[in-house]
Symmetry: C2
Subunit: 127 residues, 2 copies
DNA sequence: CTTGTGCTTTACGTTAACGTCAATGCTAGA
DNA sequence: TCTAGCATTGACGTTAACGTAAAGCACAAG
């Protein structure tokens, strides 16, 4: 069980940020007797998901949907099926993004290739 | 040469958005005699880069740096070297993001694997 | 010629994702 | 017991990335 400060430092965010995520319903930390937040392993795992999600440009609303996969009441079969279906959509979206990233990366690499050629020519000329 | 409207429609954004990118110095379209914007292939290529960049969460400021690789005055050797160096950094950053995306994707896949097991058990029980 | 349609700039409005500040409360240590 | 250092909940401020509205210019159709 970690305090809000420990959790915040682990992910390089402020405590305000963590409280904000709670406001949005993404986190549900327990409380101590004196009303202070306590973060279990499960809540820390959700923070990890949020951290990653932000880095590649999902909105908090989109991330929330993912996070809820960890929270969902999976007791019923119907609920379980819906969760799986939604999860698969998320995975497809990630695959799409990976492809686009690689496409752009390749474009930049070929652009840099051209620049390198130009540079070689310049080097050849100056001797 | 495309009009601002054609360019906007090609990327599913408004004309306001395109003017905003110009405000930020990311685009420099030519003008007609009556002061209307005209987008060459090079400007459209930059818009393509912006479009991609946004999709995986680079800020416009970050994207601007990339776009400037296309614009840079590459006449001098020093300038060319700097451009190449910067481009390589951008590529590394993309590689980092691709790795993270794949890591998260795998985590979600294993989570979904667990759910599928649970679902199988439920199905087994109900018969 | 004027009416409509689309472009122009200028300027203020909006939303997400926090930052910052104020007022208050617990609690460990001098 | 008092105070320093954390936590708490409001509440208002800020920035990026546009949206929206106003006022005017250009030009093709009727």
């Amino acid at each position: 069980m970690k305090s809000i400060r420990e959790a915040a430092e682990e992910f390089g965010v402020t405590t305000r940020t963590i409280r904000y995520y709670e406001e949005l319903g993404m986190l549900k930390p327990e409380r101590t007797g004196s009303n202070k937040r306590l973060f279990s392993n499960a809540e820390i795992a959700k923070l990890k998901l949020i951290d990653r999600g932000k880095k590649y440009g999902f909105t908090l609303e989109e991330i929330k949907e993912m996070v809820l996969l960890f929270d969902a009441d999976r007791s019923g079969r119907k609920q379980l099926e819906r969760t799986i279906e939604y999860g698969q959509k998320q995975i497809q979206e990630m695959e799409r993004r990976i492809e686009e990233l690689e496409k752009t990366k390749q474009e930049m690499e070929s652009l840099l290739g051209e620049f390198n050629e130009k540079l070689s020519k310049l080097k050849g000329m100056e001797k």
